[in-house]
């Protein structure tokens, strides 16, 4: 659906330019649509697993790899700061933007800061590993936990 593509692209443009999720009202203003049209499009995008919304549908929690809420995975690039949903998405932000950057996260067990410089060729080699707690078949059963 044409409206859904337009809304999806506007959501991502907003994340890229501000580091934050757009509101329903700001999307309506940007696209010249009603808030009801925007809410319906967001719901369809949620059902197609393009976005993750809050339970009341009013807030965009995730437009993978971007997070609409602060997390422990911060990505610094191009003079902006982004939040990512998980370790994978932290690298995913830089892959999507196709920019060098710095991931500022932490060791989940100790809380020790983990800074990972990332270049076009990939991340620098630092002592670090990534644990996938949820099997692929279950990722969308609870995507926030995943």
């Amino acid at each position: 659906m044409e409206t859904d593509v337009a809304v999806r692209q506007a959501v991502y443009r907003h994340f890229v330019s501000t580091g934050a999720a757009p509101t329903v009202a700001s999307l309506a203003s940007t696209l010249g649509l009603t808030t009801r049209d925007i809410a319906a499009a967001l719901q369809r995008l949620f059902e197609r697993r393009v976005l993750v919304l809050s339970p009341d549908g009013d807030q965009i929690l995730m437009a993978p790899p971007f997070s609409g809420i602060p997390t422990q995975h911060r990505v610094l690039t191009g003079g902006r700061e982004y939040f990512a949903n998980c370790a994978w998405d932290a690298l995913g932000v830089l892959a999507a933007l196709q920019q060098d950057g710095l991931i500022r996260s932490r060791c989940e067990q100790t809380g020790e800061p983990l800074d990972i410089p990332v270049h076009a060729t990939g991340p620098e080699s630092i002592p670090c590993t990534v644990h996938f707690a949820v099997p692929a078949a279950l990722w969308w059963r609870d995507i926030v936990f995943t």
Partner: protein
């Protein structure tokens, strides 16, 4: 998916949280996964990989077995 300083820290975290120890992925593997998944995410044509495409991506970077199979019955 969470970062840890080492495998030992992963084991401690799993034990402390009563969670099973699952596969570990290197930063290099995760980068390849990220590029395959997200490199075109900002384009109008972007879409999530289909389950068969997901399985191919995992296999191509050495992530094999039912844990990485989006249609695996044993985890449903």
């Amino acid at each position: 998916m969470l970062f840890f300083r080492s495998e030992e820290r992963v084991n401690e975290w799993c034990q402390a949280n009563g969670l099973p120890r699952r596969p570990l992925v290197t930063l290099t593997q995760l980068w390849r996964l990220s590029v395959a998944w997200y490199a075109n995410r900002l384009t109008p044509e972007a879409r999530r990989p289909a389950p068969s495409e997901m399985a191919s991506i995992f296999t191509s970077i050495g992530l094999n077995g039912p844990f990485w199979d989006p249609q695996a019955d044993e985890f449903r």
